[in-house]
């Protein structure tokens, strides 16, 4: 039943960050931005916790907005990651401001006001980004979902461009054009979906309405709709071969933004694919959709393996690792059965660890002033805390125990072998090991040796806010590994049942 309190929480969750974004943009006060950023991320986290531990099905706008099991899971990911990134950003921005003032020649006042202005745009875009990602997790209506996913691109484009300069410009342009192109195809997919849904049966294009009349859907049109939705949202999710924007945007964006793009935004695009997949399963097209998901999952892992080996830029390496993990997610859902459970676990684990790694990469970049892995040596000596985190994160992201990704990758492999899908299991294992070798050979040498270059002479102290957020994320990822908390397990089980059988869930 709809209760006033739930409804209020839902609208607060959606609109409060955007309202703060408007305020930050409009009011030029230096402290206001960081204060509102902290307040909204904390409030967002609290309300998300409320939705998790007091589970009800909140509804608004005639069932267009509701928090079902899938949405709740990804809302949790977005909220936790944003809180970590926001905490990091506060310290990062003060560093950036200092740097801008140091580098300014001549007019200090003009430099300060320019830095202040770009900071304001940055924070308000960040808040809009949070609002739009939250909207994605709440959307039950396919076309509203489209609007929300496109809005995430637009809100995050200024974030990618924060550092200015030709490289950031190129990355932003590619991000905008390729993602808009993909999203346009998803719009076509939405139209095809509305053709597939017989108009005379009534009802809107909401997930629950489509699931309840799944048997009436026109299967040929639904197939076409799924293909376009998959390609469109898959572009945004970074599935190969339409992933080309991803390494550029992730390496050029500020590290806190990269962590959000990789952990939260890609997961949000995956929500779009999951929604379409859910309807396909309910309409009896499960094996068709699964075939597509498995194929593109493996292709993405293959692409990532090729580009990670001999990669020279450590942020690009992390970006390609995201392509790999998005491939694993797609593959796991495509395999069905127990692999879906593992896939959802994988989504959480990847988001936490990858966000942590990007934040640490940001610390390394600040100290060494270079993204080239060859130029970075002696991180363990120069930045002890970041060095340890980098080391742990590297093993966590490549699926070593005791971190969460080991459990999920192992479950996927076991399921594939149990079902006799050797054609999937063998390339899967091959790509995972190639990626491990590639990432280890790039990142381990960064840790050892003597610090050189900029870091040798001038090593900035690791400030509290650059270390605490990644440490918190690492702890969460570690907690997932050996033992999945029962409340989480129940939720993920519910999602797996929904996606395997196509029944509408969460309405209890």
């Amino acid at each position: 039943m709809i209760q006033a309190g739930d409804s209020l929480a839902l609208w607060l969750q959606l609109l409060f960050p955007a309202a703060c974004g408007v305020a930050v943009f409009a009011i030029p006060r230096r402290r206001l931005g960081t204060a509102l950023l902290a307040v909204s991320s904390a409030l967002h986290l609290c309300i998300t916790a409320f939705f998790w531990f007091v589970p009800r099905r909140e509804l608004a706008l005639e069932g267009w907005l509701a928090l079902d099991e899938i949405g709740r899971l990804f809302l949790g990911i977005v909220s936790v990651l944003f809180a970590a990134a926001a905490a990091y950003v506060v310290g990062y921005l003060s560093h950036h401001r200092l740097l801008a003032l140091q580098n300014a020649q001549g007019d200090k006042a003009a430099a300060a006001s320019a830095a202040e202005r770009s900071e304001r745009i940055f924070i308000s875009s960040l808040l809009f980004f949070l609002s739009t990602m939250t909207l994605v997790t709440f959307c039950q209506h396919f076309e509203l979902l489209w609007v929300a996913i496109e809005a995430t691109t637009l809100a995050s484009a200024p974030l990618v461009y924060f550092h200015r300069g030709p490289h950031a410009l190129e990355a932003t342009w590619k991000y905008l054009v390729i993602c808009s192109f993909g999203i346009a195809l998803a719009l076509l997919g939405n139209f095809l979906l509305s053709i597939a849904a017989p108009a005379h049966a009534g009802g809107a294009l909401t997930v629950s309405s489509l699931l309840s009349r799944a048997a009436l859907l026109d299967r040929a049109w639904l197939k076409a709709a799924f293909i376009f939705l998959f390609v469109g949202y898959g572009t945004k999710m970074g599935l190969a071969p339409l992933h080309t924007w991803l390494p550029d945007a992730h390496s050029e964006a500020p590290s806190a933004v990269s962590s959000l793009l990789s952990g939260a935004l890609l997961s949000c695009a995956f929500v779009g694919i999951l929604r379409a997949f859910h309807v396909c399963v309910a309409a009896g097209l499960g094996s068709f959709a699964q075939g597509i998901l498995v194929t593109f999952g493996l292709i993405s892992m293959g692409f990532a393996a090729v580009f990670i080996i001999r990669q020279q830029d450590y942020k690009r390496m992390l970006a390609y690792s995201s392509v790999e993990h998005m491939g694993v997610l797609s593959l796991s859902v495509g395999l069905g059965g127990a692999a879906v459970f593992a896939g959802m676990l994988h989504a959480i684990g990847h988001a936490l660890i990858k966000a942590m790694l990007f934040l640490v990469a940001g610390n390394i970049l600040i100290a060494y002033h270079t993204k080239s892995a060859k130029a970075v040596r002696g991180v363990l000596r120069a930045l002890p805390a970041s060095g340890v985190l980098w080391f742990l994160g590297l093993f966590a992201i490549t699926g070593f125990p005791p971190f969460g990704l080991f459990t999920s990758e192992f479950l996927i492999l076991r399921f594939a072998l149990e079902r006799g899908r050797y054609g999937v299991a063998i390339p899967y294992l091959l790509f995972l090991s190639l990626i491990f070798i590639g990432m280890a050979s790039v990142s381990l040498p960064m840790l050892l040796g003597e610090p050189q270059g900029a870091a040798k002479t001038h090593v900035p102290r690791e400030w509290r806010w650059s270390i605490l957020p990644p440490v918190a994320l690492a702890f969460l990822a570690l907690a997932l590994g050996p033992h999945i908390p029962p409340f989480l397990k129940a939720r993920i089980d519910a999602i797996a049942v929904e996606l395997n059988t196509g029944v509408p869930g969460g309405a209890k």
């Binding site: 706008l61 209506h141 076309e143 509203l144 489209w146 609007v147 496109e150 809005a151 691109t153 637009l154 484009a157 200024p158 461009y161 200015r164 300069g165 030709p166 490289h167 410009l169 190129e170 990355a171 932003t172 342009w173 590619k174 905008l176 054009v177 808009s180 192109f181 346009a184 719009l187 076509l188 939405n190 139209f191 509305s194 053709i195 108009a199 009802g203 809107a204 294009l205 040929a220 049109w221 390494p247 550029d248 390496s251 050029e252 580009f307 001999r310 990669q311 020279q312 830029d313 690009r316």
Partner: protein, 221 residues
Amino acid sequence: MGIRNGSFVDFLLIALILGNLLLLGSSRLMSYIRICAAQGLLVSALTFILHRGEVSARIVVLVVGSAVLKAGLFPWLLIRAVRVAYIKKEIEPIVGYSASLIFGVLILALSLWLSARLPIHGKAAASFVPTAAFFTIFTGCFLIVSRTKAITQVISYLVLENGIYLFGLPFVGEAALLIELGVFLDLTVGVAVMGIIIYHISREFDSLDVKHLSTLKDWGS
């Protein structure tokens, strides 16, 4: 229901198809913008004609909204971007103009074949709407990959969007006003953001050629 002014609809669709061919063959940025705006106007007119029997507040908002945005705001933004960036130069395409035109004829044939094969029922089946829509979509896709100016890519994206919008036109009976407003909002912000980036590209490189935007690579430099 049904389409009463069938021949008039066909006339508009043929105008749209000719516009696509002009886009493929033309070299001046200004004519690109004008053709794209004219197509926006055509699509809004088609919205009205195809939904004549059921004029509601929604249809009025759709018609007025798409006309104002696609034939008013977007061309204005794009022309401003062209002025700011001082480009009067002709476009240097990756694929030449005559080759583009030949390709255009091929994709027109493909669109005819595709729309004849699709099991489309209802009002759309009676007309060439799907054919014209497919052709516009393919033209947009082709232009995005074959032209090198940042601004041309934005225009091509709008052409692609026009095609998709036209394709959905006969079918979207159920989608609500809120969603269409959302689509408009996304488009507007999208074009505005792209416009800002275009401004920065022109300031950074003294040119709007996306060939400059190819330094980010994986191996070597």
